[in-house]
Amino acid sequence: MTGITGSTALWYASRATGVVTLLLLTTVVVLGILVNRQGRLPGLPGFAVTGLHRNVSLLAVAFLAIHVVTAIADPYVTIGLAAAVLPFASPYKPFWLGLGAISLDLVAALILTSLARARMSRRAWRAIHWLGYAAWPLAVLHSIGSSTDTHSGLVLGVLAVCVLATLAALAWRLSHAAREVPRAQRAAAALSDMSPRKAGLR
């Protein structure tokens, strides 16, 4: 096996950090669903779920940054700085990298709005945060199309775990949402919830 030169090191680093970023993004999405549904992680207090969601998202951004920088710096393929944020601007695999760029843009929007959350309207923040559900599948597609790593072996296993975990969390959220009482019926639901012992309305 030939030695790893400086340039291939960058290429390997980009691929490796890409896998880690996908793993971390998946964790953030699953934790986000837990926060929203007031779910708990065994052994941890409630506030830890929120804290983890926020901290892991920052970690994901760090790995994402390294992933992008190493990919651009690597001389093996030409990607260009703009392609990091401008979709389909890369000479190399423009479509698949473009999906990654869109995903990065969405992640940036989520992170920036969450940092500035106190200064924006609740409605606007929530609307942008929903884009997380678009950022994740774009990252997955980007992973599949940009590199053959995800087509076999350990990395395919990681990808499968990410997809399964997210689908499971989504299914859990949807099943809860189906049972959730809409605002306009909350009082009526509480009223009819009262046991027969306390009812007896004339």
Binding site: Q38, P45, F47, T50, G51, R117, A118
Partner: protein, 67 residues
């Protein structure tokens, strides 16, 4: 500068993180919603109070200046 804790009851969804982070000043009622002590936050607890404000997933807890 005295600070007071205030809940936005419309934004509050009863996550309960605030009561975990600041049990000295915040307890939960029987439905999981926060009961916040009305008095100003003692100086020794201001740092914990800020953590509780930051820890609310709904950003429903606020630290305001006492009027």
């Amino acid at each position: 500068m005295r600070k007071r804790l205030q809940v936005n009851p419309v934004a509050c969804a009863g996550h309960g993180a605030c009561a975990e982070l600041l049990p000295e000043l915040i307890t939960l009622d029987e439905w999981g919603y926060p009961i916040v002590a009305g008095q100003p936050v003692p100086h020794g607890l201001v740092r914990e109070a800020r953590r509780a404000v930051a820890g609310c997933p709904a950003l429903a807890l606020h630290l305001t200046r006492v009027a």
